[in-house]
């Protein structure tokens, strides 16, 4: 995108939104001059439209435009209102996927590791591949299977998930330790029954106060915090890189 004469924020915004529209129509690249032409045309059209609206408004001796003014101006400019309706109803084929629609319409792609865990370079295919061809598969799709995880994110669900995961972790950790370490039966079985109630046998430490006074349970949360910080940083970094590629391509 040409940034030399765009000091005016309005212009910048306008240019960008137009670029987005163009891209939504499926143009991944466009020549600069053509783009400028587009820009001028749309600018003129909009200007014309606004002038008309203003005139109509003045004729009706109003100070604020109303929808009727807009409708009449559009008619004056030979735009059929029904066609507008059609454009509105008929979605653009190549509209960018919003995350919501994605989860609803393409459950198959849910598990696919997109930008969140994958490097951005892999996601975008080169321009010479037509867009009707399917996307590249993710580098590790071959080990994944279909999942139907519900990614709706309301608070109780997140908490529920978190708690379940934590408990599962605790359980499996204990189970693992019970299998690898010596164990001690909790129930006095009188030598008859085998039961499932065991404690991990304690290994005597010469300095028992060290592990007691320097507990590890808080460490866990600190480390997750740092991980979370990292992920936040990654996300912001990713969004930055995303917009950068967009700019470059325009």
């Amino acid at each position: 995108m040409d940034n030399t004469n765009t000091d005016n924020p309005y212009d910048v915004l306008f240019e960008r939104s137009l670029a987005v529209i163009i891209r939504e129509y499926g143009f991944d690249n466009i020549e600069l001059s053509a783009y400028h032409q587009f820009l001028d045309i749309s600018n003129t059209i909009l200007r014309r439209l606004l002038l008309n609206v203003k005139n109509f408004m003045e004729i009706q001796s109003r100070t604020e435009p109303c929808p009727a003014d807009l409708a009449r101006s559009l008619q004056m400019m030979n735009v059929k209102l029904s066609s507008l309706q059609q454009t509105y109803n008929h979605p653009i084929k190549h509209r960018l996927r919003s995350p919501d629609r994605q989860t609803e319409t393409h459950p198959m792609k849910l598990f696919r590791v997109t930008s969140t865990t994958n490097n951005t370079s892999r996601k975008h295919r080169p321009i010479y591949i037509p867009d009707f061809l399917p996307e590249f598969p993710d580098p590790h799709t071959f080990i994944s299977s279909e999942t139907y995880a519900d990614l709706r994110k309301d608070y109780p669900r997140v908490r529920h998930l978190l708690a379940d995961q934590r408990r599962a972790l605790q359980r499996s950790l204990v189970k693992f330790k019970l299998q690898t370490n010596e164990k001690l039966s909790v129930i006095n079985t009188h030598g008859t029954n085998i039961n499932d109630y065991y404690l991990i046998k304690y290994t005597i430490s010469p300095l028992p106060y060290l592990s007691a006074l320097l507990p590890q349970d808080q460490m866990e949360s600190e480390s997750t915090e740092t991980i979370e910080d990292e992920t936040v940083a990654n996300i912001s970094h990713r969004t930055k890189s995303l917009s950068a590629t967009d700019d470059g391509e325009m």
């Binding site: 359980r171 010469p206 028992p208």
Partner: protein
Amino acid sequence: MELEELRQVTRSFVLSHQTLCITGVSFDKRCLVGYTELTLHPLVKNFNVIKLNARQLTIYAVTINDERNVEFSYDDPNIQILSDDDPRRDLTSFLKRQQRFFEYVDPDEGNGELTIFIPLSLQQQEQNSSTTNDDNNNNNTTDIVYKVTIDFSLEHPENGIHFFVPDDDAKLSRLSRHLFTTGHDARLWFPCVDSYCEPSTWTIEVTVEESLTVIASGELVECTTNNELKTYRFYLSTPAPAPFIGLAIGSFESVVDSNTQEITNYCLPGLLTLLTNTTSFVHEPLEYYEELLNASCQYPNYKQVFVTEPHAECIPFASMAIFNVNLLYPSTVIEATWHSRTQMAFALANQFFGCFITMRSWRDWWLLKGLALYLTSLYTRRAFGNNEYRYNLNQDMLDVIRYEREENPIRLDFAPIKSESDITNVNNRRGTMMSSQYLEVAAKKAHLVVRMIDDFIGREIMMQILNKLMCLATTACLKDAPLSSRSRLHISSKSFSRVVSTLTTKDIQALLTQWVYESGCPRLIGSFTFSRKRNVVELELKQDTTIKGSKKFLGSLVIRVQELEGSFSHTILLEDSVTKYELTCHSKVRRNKKKKIPLISGDEVDMDLNQMDPECPILWIRIDPDLKVIRELQFEQADYNWQCELRYERDILSQFEALEALKRYPSQNTRETLGTVLDSSNCFYRVRIECAYVLTHIANSMANTWTGTLATLSFFRRVFMSTNSTLSSTNVTTSSTNNLSLTVPSANIVRINDFSNSQMYMIQKTIPQAIALQRNKDRVCPPEVINFLFELIHYNENSKNRFSDAFYRSSLIDSLSNTLTNIGLTSTTTNVDLLLNHTLDTNTKRIFDEILLQLNYDKIIPSYGFCVTCSCLRVLHKLNIISGIPIDINVFYEYASYGMFDRVRLIACEILVEQIEIRMNQDVFEYIFNLITNDPDYNLRHKIIQHLCHHPPFRQNQTCSLNNPITVHRLWSLIKNFAYDNQIRNDLVELYQIMFGLSRPNCLPSLNETNEILIKDELDDVSDTIVDIDPERLSYFRLARYADDTKAAASKLASTSK
């Protein structure tokens, strides 16, 4: 009076300086080698014998003034205090004998284990010099100085010094080896005058390997390195008695206080971060005490050492203190702060009263203990707030009253019994022979008594008196101060009351007689009626003197009446066992109920007076609102008065009283009042917690008519749980109890933990325990509550919290145990599978599974102090006892074994002791006895015995499978074996008394009369060889506190000698 004091101390010499030199320390052999040099000034003319204290030492040689190999005898009667062939096995004769032996070696009686005979040649020298001196000046005899040097060694000490040597050879374990003094029994590790009233200056020299650090009383003046050996030399210029000499050696890590350079803290390797966090505040109490007393600390520096396995949590010494390493805590743990800081503040208070100014004899123990605790509580009041202070005070008072009612009378002055037939209780004896439990409660009482003195004479004057004592003592520390002035470094009850009467006109003697020299505390029963005609309150106070440990109280008492027009205090005089008072009322019954009512705090509040008796303007009455008297109180007023008091009175003690009383009035009104107080955020958190408990109590007693959710539960949901998305968040804080309890519980999830508000944290932590006590009509915990608790555990999320949730988790586990009820499920099936999978209640099974999970998880990822493990073990025990799950006893053995963290061990041992109490298991009993005999951790041994005293398998010769001759012999031999650890021996003796009484145990066959006569008390004729004392010299050294006193004493002495 002075004469009596004189007689208390009958040593024939004065110690001016002592050098303690430890030339070798071996951790592998657990021994010390060294010598000590005492500089003595004789007080008597024919000074031929020196008696010193020394136990469990090997004495190699004694040198006096370069005279080598002086004759000495070394005899420790306490070793042979019990002979195995004494078949009587009764405590009465044992106690008699023990008392005699204590006197036999008591330094204050001029006795000791080590007797050194001064060679004739030296005696002659002395006589020569003294005769020449006598011509010139009678008193100028101080230049005769004996320097007594004693070479000694200490091997495998049982007490006095504790060696901590880990078994393995890992680097950290080697680094963590250390030794330290375990208490105030100085005679157990070096020869000395083991008395609290013989202060001297000290030089301490210790030579150790280069890697080790030495911390000792005094100022480090020199540190030299020679051949990989390092010599530390400490000098203590402030005179201190031998019991307060402390020593610690180890590879300690240290941190200097960032605010005061004089304070240094030491800890074992690896704990430095904790040390920095824990000790960051220590300068605060120091500055506070100095400001309060208007006197500076007399020691040049102060050292805090944190060690493992000390005999007590906090042992103060001169210019240093030794603490248990368990007091250290990371910044993420909340509740450890209060306790740790109090302990450290207490040790610091001892640097003023306790170690610096010491007790003259054990009879004055209460005064110094009380003063140190008094200073500590003043600091904690400032640091933790007035409410916390008053709460602790009340708890102490309740403890004291409970002990006096249920156990033994507490006589603080520890006076020796006049006739030996008076021995009715093992604790009714000399100070060194008390059980630890007794001492613990006595310390609380001592604090309360000192506080009473403070109330009696006024805070300002109290501080002046303490300042005066400090100033006097300070002058004794000056370089050129005469030796005689050192008597100012110790105070007694009598000297203290003398100072009080000179500085004020008040006499505290009556107060001391009531609370110190005699035991017991009054029980007051009160009620009131209002006479409208005369507009007076008719108050009736009765004293119940029939119950155990009660005592008639005569004196003034404050009554505070809250009327409609305000709060009015009346002081009444208690004279008789039943007294009636008429207190004039200041308010009229008023029609206009809208007016605000002024409270004692100055606030004016609106009250809902609709339920009030329209004929009576009295809202509530309080007796002795400021705990000025140690008393048990039972006051009758209508439930409306109590509800009002709970709701509007701002004093927390009053609120606690009201809560206690409201337990008796289960009604809808009570329920509402409790709900309001629980909700009100300006209430002290302990009141709110107690409120939750009382609410559960009320709900249980109203179980048949109770409708709706427990207010506590809905309160918890509202405050600590996330709301439904349909409810706006603003609704949460303002909406009342009722409309929120309608929300579906499963939609609520406890919020992620945020413990930044510690009061809310305490509430969040404790309220589930209160809720768990709820029972429905069938006397079981409602399933709703159990599910609620499991949800709390399930959804507990601490990842965003700055603080550790260890104690919160352990509290939730305690709550689970609170839900367990004994509902007659006495399944006798031995088929474990059947029991666990079919017979057992599903909720119990669920709890059992959860406990196992938490217990195992805590082993993988430990919580602070293994608090989760401790809670889990308690629940396992309860599951065993109440629900009949056959828990293998080996589980508790495992947790009780050496090598576990000591708090976990203690819990496991306590459980084992309770198992003995319930199951009478001989093997467990044997195991516990083995622990008491052999365990390396002395503190644990103490604690086990104390717990056994609380939960003995049987009392007073009850029939029981354990009440047999084997137990008697076992316990008897234990008492016999603990020759060096008085405290354990005293505790064991108490246990023996609890189990068998004072006389011969019933389970033993009776002795023949003839036999009994044959057993002669061969020790009856122990004659003390106390040398004659020259009274004039004695007075010169001992009585120089006040010039007037000295003169008076001298004239008295003169008159008596005539």
